[in-house]
Amino acid sequence: MAACPYGARRFNWAEPKVDAAAINPDTHWLGNRPRPKGVVEKCTWCIQRTRQGRYPACVEVCPAGARKFGNLLDPQSEIRAVIERKRILILKAELNTLPKFYFFYGT
């Protein structure tokens, strides 16, 4: 919380109260479920925006275009183009958990 330079981390100071109508019940168990009080919320890549075909907020506001987001399954997508053409780095790739988070080099 105190270390985050972007003010992005949010803590559940009380039991989160989300309107039942605002919750999408169609998620898997580790998906976008309301989390308990007393913990820091996890990033959902702005699921409310991406479902409408928009970028996550952090990608949209990034002034340098350093962040890319998209559908890895779509061969025409920007994200696939970046992954195929740039040098990329996957953290702890040797653990074979196949994370879908890639670091790419600008040059």
Partner: protein, 417 residues
């Protein structure tokens, strides 16, 4: 150690703490009352979440962490007495070292409690304990803090228990054990406060704390505030028991405080020069503390009060005449205590987080729950200190000892501490 004498020691200690005059019981009753009120407030916090505090996303550290930081300094300050007593072998300070170590033990108890009440999910606390969970050491500075604070607690606790028990048995204490642990406790005292400073220092997103001077400033103010509490306690002990504490010892501590306070004020001045002369965006946090930003001036009175009190204390302690006068010395102690408490608490935490990294200003005032919980934690610390003194003082005076040791001379177990 024979089990029977240990039971006798335990029973003797129990007898010692259950005997006292009206004032003693009144004091205990006040402390127990505060602990009960703190416990109810804490249960409310567990039930409803940390929302009952005034902390929010922008100001995620508050009164609890401020008190924690202050008390780590108090714990470290026992070293002020240990260094001259053991290294330079000055007479007057030696016999009162045990009170400093007892203070360190109770201060660490309070520190650990203040961290515990700040945890969002206390039921997950066991994740820290190595056999069950994983202590993220050495990567995490918080893990370092857990290690050094608990280590310091154990070292001080072993030393005082051994000294008191030897006094009870009227046996000479083990020089090897005590001396090696005391020498170990000196760097450890420095380390507990340095690591705590690094917790703040290691956050590059918070320019107010991202200064190499932070750890030295922490140590300097700790060596003022810790002894200030100790001087008050020593005067109470001297008055209410037969324990003799020489004036020279008290004056010597007051003199050491003057030097520490000079260093503290000087380092703060250096920090202010750097901030104001550079005049970068990072100045905002300093401005918020000293002059306020726009209509947000909540911290300004605190900042100036602390500066005035600390300067006053420096003047009173550096002049031999006011240092040796009990009246002016006690005013100086109160000023140091209040000054450092503000400086290490609200005036350290809040400007670090306000304005936050996006420039938002969220004013913070501790809520009733936070005040209640904090009072309860302080009461636990004072209770621990009172009970330990109640055991240690009569034993050190030779009034209480084991039945098997009654024919030994009092001095045999009279430790130099």
């Amino acid at each position: 150690m024979h089990p029977r004498t240990f039971i006798e020691f335990f029973a003797g200690s129990l007898r010692a703490v259950t005997r006292g005059n009206v004032w003693y019981w009144l004091w205990i009753a006040v402390l127990v009352g505060l602990i009960a009120s703190g416990a109810t407030a804490y249960l409310r916090q567990v039930d409803q979440g940390l929302a009952v505090t005034a902390m929010r996303d922008q100001v995620s550290w508050g009164f609890y962490i401020g008190n924690f930081t202050f008390l780590v300094g108090v714990a470290a300050a026992a070293v002020v007495l240990v260094i001259p007593a053991y290294i330079y072998r000055w007479g007057p300070i030696r016999e009162i070292v045990i009170f400093g170590e007892l203070l360190a033990v109770s201060a660490i108890v309070m520190c650990l409690l203040f961290v515990f009440v700040d945890i969002g999910r206390p039921d997950r606390f066991w994740h820290l304990l190595p056999p069950f969970g994983r202590l993220n050491w050495p990567q995490s500075l918080l893990a370092w803090d857990v290690v050094v604070l608990n280590g310091y607690f154990v070292v001080n606790f072993v030393v005082v228990t051994h000294l008191v028990y030897s006094g009870f048995m009227r046996q000479p204490y083990s020089k090897k054990l005590v001396w090696s642990l005391v020498f170990l406790s000196i760097p450890m005292a420095v380390s507990i406060h340095t690591v705590t400073a690094f917790l703040y220092n290691g956050l590059p997103a918070r320019p107010f704390w991202n200064s190499a001077l932070l750890a030295p400033m922490f140590l300097a103010s700790a060596f003022c505030a810790g002894p200030a509490i100790l001087l008050a306690l020593l005067q109470i002990i001297r008055k209410s028991t037969k324990f003799e504490i020489k004036d020279e010892a008290i004056w010597k501590i007051a003199e050491l405080m003057a030097y520490a306070m000079f260093l503290n004020l000087f380092l703060h001045g250096c920090e202010l020069f750097k901030e104001y002369y550079s005049d970068t965006e990072h100045l905002h946090n300093t401005l918020y503390l000293w002059v306020g930003i726009g209509e947000h001036k909540g911290l300004v009175p605190y900042a100036w009060t602390a500066l005035v009190l600390n300067s006053l204390a420096f003047a009173l302690f550096i002049l031999p005449r006011t240092r040796k006068n009990p009246w002016t010395m006690n005013i100086g102690c109160a000023a140091v205590y209040a000054g450092c408490y503000i400086e290490k608490g609200m005036a350290l935490i809040l400007p670090g987080l306000t304005p936050d990294t996006l420039g938002e200003i969220v004013p913070y005032q501790p809520s009733m729950t936070e005040l209640q919980v904090a009072a309860g934690v302080f009461a636990v610390g004072f209770l621990v200190y009172t009970l330990m003194l109640k055991v240690a003082v009569p034993i050190a005076l030779g009034e209480v000892c084991a039945r098997s040791a009654a024919d030994r001379p009092v001095d045999a177990g009279h430790h130099p501490a």
